[in-house]
């Protein structure tokens, strides 16, 4: 696949075009176009992620700029309601921050934590899975027993526990600065098991195939076989799991932040925004929590749908 050599006569522009043709003719693209739900999910995810990435450019206000905030503007309702104001389209929160802007910046943080956590758990899980499947023996037993114990607990409890331990170990001054990293690590450490189990399973199948034996016979270094030859052949299902786990990781981050052990209100993610808004729900200021909630639900739903589609598209049994 990656080894396609391009003849010198072909101009450099032709290569991407040809790749694009190949993609357009592929089963993957066909199954994507055929499912309107998936196309809709991709559109929604694209809009939300795009808006989050462009937040500094398109947000009407800067929620981190304390000087621009005024408590006189606090808890304004959305613009289309009575007392609403079009400079705050979705209303303001208890500190006078524009809800639309905090949502845009909050989605950025939620996505950042989610993606970083998935990436970290992917690296951790794939490495441990490769070691377990490739080396076997004691390493395998140890890694898989840990995985079994961890799998018998819900991930959210493990993430909470790691977060709580980090809170008591680290001094208070440091805590505020590294909350983000603690959160990413806590989520990553609670989701690596799925990756490790999948990779271990396929590694054990691939390990005895001829191309691996051939590589061994000609004396390639074992680490190089594992990374250069084995990894590309076991990585497919991992990417599908990563997509599904992205939705779960975003959800976990939101839940932890909602429970008050995630990101602080000064730098809110979607979960923190919902938590802040929850305190004002009983006084009727529903927009502070409901709008971030809708964005969060749409984001998770669309990523979930994309993950489902990817899983089905990669599963030859369902074709």
């Amino acid at each position: 696949m990656a080894e396609i050599t391009v003849p010198d006569t072909v101009s450099s522009i032709a290569v991407p075009r040809r790749r694009w043709r190949r993609f357009a003719d592929s089963d993957l693209w066909w199954s994507f176009r055929r499912s309107p739900v998936t196309v809709a999910a991709a559109l929604v995810a694209f809009v939300i992620i795009g808006a989050a990435l462009l937040a500094p450019l398109i947000a009407p206000h800067d929620p981190y700029d304390l000087a621009s905030l005024s408590l006189l503007d606090a808890t304004d309702p959305p613009a289309w309601l009575q007392d609403g104001n079009w400079s705050y389209p979705l209303g303001t929160d208890n500190q006078g921050r524009d809800v639309l802007s905090t949502i845009l910046y909050g989605t950025r943080l939620s996505l950042l934590v989610g993606c970083a956590a998935v990436l970290l758990s992917l690296i951790l899980g794939v490495t441990l899975g490769l070691v377990a499947g490739w080396r076997g023996g004691f390493a395998d037993t140890l890694i898989m027993r840990i995985a079994d114990v961890q799998l018998s607990f819900p991930a959210i409890l493990i993430a909470l526990l790691i977060d709580g331990v980090a809170r008591s170990v680290l001094p208070r001054e440091v805590q505020a600065q590294i909350t983000l990293y603690v959160l990413i690590a806590a989520i990553a450490l609670s989701y690596w098991v799925h990756f490790a189990r999948t990779v271990r399973g396929s590694t054990m199948v691939e390990r005895n195939k001829e191309y691996i034996q051939a590589a061994r016979v000609i004396g390639v270094h074992p680490a190089r076989i594992a990374i250069g030859h084995l990894l590309p052949n076991v990585i497919g299902p991992v990417l599908v799991i990563a997509t599904i786990n992205l939705a779960t990781a975003i959800l976990t981050e939101a839940t932890l932040s909602f429970l008050g052990v995630g990101l602080p209100p000064t730098e809110p993610s979607l979960g923190t925004l919902i938590r802040v808004g929850n305190d004002f729900l009983l006084s009727g200021d529903w927009w502070i929590s409901i709008f971030p909630g809708i964005v969060l639900a749409l984001l998770i739903l669309s990523v979930n749908l994309l993950g489902d589609w990817l899983r089905d598209a990669f599963n030859p049994k369902l074709r």
Partner: protein
Amino acid sequence: MIAFIIQRLLQSVLVMLTVALIAFALFNYIGDPISNMVGQDTTQADRERLRQELGLNDSFVVQFARFAGRAVQGNFGLSYQQARPVGQIILEKMPATLELSFTAAFIALILGVPMGIYAGLHRNSWASQAMLAVSLIGVSLPTFLIGILLILVFAVELGWLPSFGRGTVVHLGWWTTGFLTAEGWRAIILPAITLALFQMTLIMRLVRAEMIEVLRTDYIKFARARGLTNRAVNFGHALKNTLVPVITITGLQLGSIIAFAVITETVFQWPGMGLMFIQAVTFADIPVMAAYLVLVGLFFVIINLVVDLLYYAVDPRLRVEREVAANG
């Protein structure tokens, strides 16, 4: 059979020991237990004597054995935050969580199973399509968001149901129950629905998938060929065979209901173990965290064990496979 039970029991004990070891490590090595107990002006000599008295200078194995021995008796030391025995606090909070969890599990089963059967039997009807669409949303909506929406509609806008707490509770010995007062019943409705919704969609999808799978098999075709009524085929033959995996999953889900109760209890300020755990995490109250960890671990191990044994008892095929594997 006996070998299998012993093997499973050993495995459970091993898991419990691991959990206890983590809890013990939390308890002993995070922060200095002595500085959590004494004041600023205690002398170094006094600290050392206290250390000796509490046995903190003993070897790791001795200390762990002592910790495990105390844990078995329900003694987890004092809470840093409340300065009361942790065992006592947990005992106070447990009834609230268990009542909520079992009510939620009951709702999830009583609604999820019939909906799943219907959706499996009438695959293409608009009602089952609607159920599937709703269940997809149910899976994607975070638990706390469902709780907030329910509070907004039923507590704030309509004012029908309370938005927090357990209502009036009645003491029955050490157990407190909300089931004996009308207020208690009203208070449990919203949290129980919130907690049940996710599990209900899960059970519904599972029953539906199993039903569709079973209805394709040859013995169902044969039963139809014999001229049995739809009712006998669907409920006598098909349903019975779908229930085995349903029992397993539902049993395992009971464990995660107790875990998800952490979120629901926070949203509704339900005075149970989950809320206690969150407060412990926020205040870094290690003894409470350790005790909760051990207790939840125990719940999970017991549930897993019972489900495994139940599965083994319900499905005769498993027994045969094991014997074949053992002899071959």
